[in-house]
């Protein structure tokens, strides 16, 4: 087959898109995807990748430019049109109905019918056949809510395939997966390609891109910077194209030897459905150390952090700060003991988007005499505080009175970090500090976390990004099904593969090995 002579399968020419509000997300973007290839798109946060994909899938409409399918001009006014043209998309944020079973999610919108009746039996059969054919194994009858993330993603992919997609767009599919799951995903992608499908693949992790793709389009600031054959690309070259400057991700760490600040003892937690999510978990964090929590999402590490933060009640066991149990204390009192916390989801949990940045920056300290005396706010002090933090954390905004909603994602995260680290904490809880954050800001946040540690804070860090954990942690605990199944002291020998094997329950430590690293 001579691809050179054929028109690309899917081509976007001169696409521009300005969002209401004036953000130019795509500016004269070009991309050409050939049949049977895995075409990667890379770029920093906000480069416009997702926007371009949404245009290809008909969710958004371009202001100018055209789309061509096998050389013929097409218009996608809605996802339905794109689906009919054989395009399927798996969004950066999953679009699954949690209480529905896997097969219901897969057939949703294109259900098999007999008369007016939804033919469930046929739907289940079709889903089974499809998942066997592409080796994407899921239990069709399980509610999606109960599936691990990796399987949820398979459901998403099956959903696209069920609609007869011959072009599959995967927007950051690996962000939430373990290395083993990434490997499985990649073999599924290869199976897809072998069966004649075409894949568009977006990721921030360059090694993954280099492994799976055959060609790469690089975007920066809403523009396409260039297209490159994977065989000609290196990590450094791509990074330079993406950022336009050199980047390094290295953190210097001092040795530590602090006292135990946080002690979790035989803790059990239950979720809303009264199922045990954390079982007999014990760990300590010393002052001046970062303890990393590794685990596939849904294995209890998020719940543990919520319980320490005071957002979840405890079924058994104890949590102590400085030797004193904090179980009877509410969130505010725990914060009063020197706890700070950077939550997983900044928009839904870390910020009040409708309030100003200055207000967001004092929200956790409203009983501090610095900002409120006799119940009255000191607006001057709030403003000064905001100006100080904006300066120190180089947050890019109009001023302290700007609404948090008007900030970019990275800057929102900086506001959260700034608030939590405005005073040196004794205990810092951190979840996914750099999810969806670009290289520059990641570097900045890593440095700040390390500085906080060096200044004597005990830091408990949970992250889906294993390289982040390896870069920052002094010790690592691996969660599997609500238990700690492995504990490591960080060293150069420790690899993401070793962690990944434990995260999936494939390998276990002996009690002695674990005890050595737990203390």
């Amino acid at each position: 087959m001579t691809t050179e002579n054929m028109a690309p399968l899917l081509q976007a020419i001169g696409i521009s898109k300005t969002y209401p509000g004036g953000v130019v997300a795509n500016d004269n973007v070009n991309i050409a995807v050939n049949a049977g290839e895995v075409h990667a798109v890379v770029g920093e946060n906000g480069a416009g990748k997702s926007t371009l994909m949404k245009i290809l899938f008909g969710v958004e409409q371009a202001d100018s430019g055209e789309l061509r399918l096998v050389g013929e001009q097409v218009r996608f006014g809605s996802p339905r049109a794109a689906i009919n043209a054989g395009i399927g998309m798996v969004f950066q944020h999953f679009s699954l109905v949690p209480s529905f079973s896997a097969y219901e999610n897969i057939v949703l919108g294109s259900e098999p019918r007999s008369g007016i009746r939804f033919d469930r039996r046929k739907a289940i059969e079709e889903v089974r056949a499809l998942s066997a054919r592409f080796r994407l194994h899921v239990d069709p009858l399980q509610p999606v809510r109960q599936l691990p993330v990796g399987q949820q993603q398979r459901v998403e992919i099956l959903k696209a395939l069920y609609r007869g997609g011959r072009i599959l767009i995967l927007d950051e599919p690996t962000a939430v997966l373990t290395p083993q799951e990434v490997t499985e995903l990649f073999s599924a992608i290869r199976a897809l390609v072998a069966q004649g499908r075409t894949v568009i693949f977006i990721a921030h992790k360059l090694p993954e891109v280099l492994e799976i793709s055959s060609r790469i389009t690089v975007m920066r600031g809403g523009k396409t910077i260039g297209e490159i054959e994977t065989k000609d690309a290196t990590e450094q070259k791509l990074a330079n194209m993406m950022v336009g400057r050199e980047v390094t991700l290295r953190v210097e760490r001092k040795p530590y030897n602090g006292k135990v600040t946080l002690a979790v003892n035989r803790l059990s937690l239950m979720n809303e459905l009264r199922a045990t999510v954390c079982d007999d978990v014990s760990l300590t964090v010393r002052s001046g150390e970062i303890v990393g929590l590794a685990g596939v999402a849904g294995n209890g590490q998020a719940e543990l952090i919520e319980a320490i933060a005071g957002l979840r009640s405890v079924a058994g066991g104890d949590i102590a700060i400085g030797g004193e149990s904090i179980l009877p204390l509410g969130v505010r009192a725990r914060r009063g003991k020197g706890m700070a916390s950077i939550p997983e989801d900044r928009i839904s949990q870390g910020l009040a988007l409708g309030a100003s940045v200055a207000e967001n920056l004092v929200a956790t300290r409203l009983d501090d005499r610095l900002f409120a005396r006799g119940g009255l706010l000191d607006l001057g002090e709030m403003r000064a505080n905001a100006e100080r933090l904006i300066e120190r954390f180089s947050i890019r905004i109009d001023g302290p009175n700007a609404l948090a909603a008007t900030l970019s994602g990275g800057n929102m995260q900086k506001v959260v970090v700034a608030r939590e680290l405005s005073e040196q904490p004794r205990l810092l809880l951190v979840s996914q500090p750099t999810r969806g954050v670009d290289l520059g800001s990641t570097q900045f946040i890593w440095r700040i976390l390390t500085e906080t540690r060096n200044a004597g804070a005990a830091v408990l860090l949970s992250s889906a990004d294993l390289s982040e954990l390896l870069a920052l942690s002094d010790r690592l605990m691996v969660f599997y099904r609500g238990r700690i199944v492995a504990a490591f002291r960080n060293s150069d020998e420790l690899t993401t593969e070793m962690l990944g094997a434990c995260m999936l329950g494939l390998s276990r430590q002996s009690p002695e090995e674990m005890r050595a690293a737990l203390a």
Partner: protein, 366 residues
């Protein structure tokens, strides 16, 4: 304040004012059309609607009296709406507050100087209790506040009917109302021979108090943070349950104050069954038009109170029923709540283009 922030504030103010005025003009046009179709003397009717309230001192008094009451009602809604609680219990709070004030006025204390201050305090306490009930049910158990507060309205009305008939009416009287209050328990007039009394001062004081509480106290900031994002508030260590309950109780206290303003005001000077005439619900409109901003509430009340009075005089003097104002009200709410802009072209575009699902209140509150 930085220059950028100042200009942005002005821009917001201009935009909101523009939207409110736009809605008012469209609503008036609707009113005119209805009058045109339904009246034999449409011009006279429309003229009465738009000018009658300012033609006599007496009618100005009626207007300003309404404004004072609408302001307090609007504030009561604004307070809970800012915490994103759709409590609609102001009507019930008005009845409970009125009952409390009446018990004071008719007791021996009613003959003394402390009748008015004590009456108001008790009315506010009663209203606060009536706001507290759905508040605690919501905060502790998640019982939907829309339904519980509405049901409590009916309960309060029946309670008032019962107490008036059995307990408060003077023996052997033919009235379903109390005896007139002693003059010590009736608000002094600010302008003689009109309904303008010190209720107006209470209303203006409430405006300042609510504004101050919301924007100058840490309780107000917590309340607004809960309203913006309740998960964040919990995470930040704000006692969300306390804020919800206290916001609903504070709003209830305003409702109670309104009850006292009704019965102790010069328009009544006694408690009678179904005295409130649905005014409490119209506070909803005031809060919506004012976008829950306390300082904008009296302005909206001034405007709406004028229309309300104009419509009443129109129904008295011409053949157009006053219900027209209710239709106009609905149109204003719809327009103000919609995210249309005053530019007709954008409006047209919004109408013809398909759009994403709007965020519903339910999602936001959950």
């Amino acid at each position: 304040m930085s220059e950028a922030a100042t200009t942005r504030r002005w821009a917001v103010l201009r935009r909101e004012t523009g939207r409110a005025l736009g809605a008012a003009i469209i609503a008036l046009a609707v009113a005119f059309l209805i009058i045109l179709f339904s009246s034999k003397t449409p011009l006279q009717a429309f003229a009465t609607l738009t000018t009658a309230p300012i033609t006599k001192v007496r009618t100005v008094g009626l207007w300003i009296d309404d404004v004072a009451k609408l302001t307090v009602a609007g504030l009561a809604y604004s307070l809970v709406f800012q915490a994103r609680q759709f409590a609609l219990g102001v009507q019930g709070q008005v009845y409970v507050g009125a009952l409390a004030a009446s018990y004071i006025a008719l007791s021996p204390l009613g003959q003394t100087w402390c009748a008015i201050p004590l009456g108001i305090v008790c009315a506010m306490a009663g209203g606060a209790l009536w706001g507290f009930l759905p508040g605690i049910a919501k905060a502790r158990l998640g019982a939907n506040e829309i339904v519980s507060s509405l049901m409590l309205n009916y309960v309060a009305i029946e309670l008032a009917n019962y107490l008036i008939r059995v307990d408060l009416t003077t023996p052997n009287s033919r009235l379903l109302s109390t005896a007139p209050f002693p003059s010590t328990a009736v608000f002094p007039a600010l302008i003689p021979n009109t309904r303008i009394d010190i209720g107006l001062i209470f209303a203006l004081t409430s405006v300042v108090a609510v504004w101050f509480a919301l924007y100058r106290t840490s309780w107000g900031l917590k309340l607004r943070l809960v309203g913006h994002n309740s998960r964040f508030a919990q995470y930040a260590g704000i006692k969300e349950a306390f804020i919800i309950v206290s916001a609903m109780a504070a709003s209830g206290a305003l409702g109670g104050l309104l009850g006292a303003m009704f019965v102790e005001g010069r328009s009544f000077g006694k408690l009678a069954v179904s005295f409130e005439g649905n005014l409490a619900f119209e506070g909803l409109l005031i809060a919506i038009v004012a976008r829950n901003r306390p300082l904008a509430v009296p302005v909206a009340a001034l405007f709406y109170g004028y229309l309300r009075q104009g419509a009443q005089l129109m129904s008295i003097r011409t053949d157009v029923p006053s219900e027209i104002i209710v239709i106009v009200t609905a149109v204003i709410i719809l327009l103000v709540a919609s995210s249309y802009s005053v530019k007709p072209r954008a409006m047209l575009a919004a109408i013809t283009r398909s759009s994403r699902p709007a965020r519903t209140h339910v999602e936001a509150v959950k």
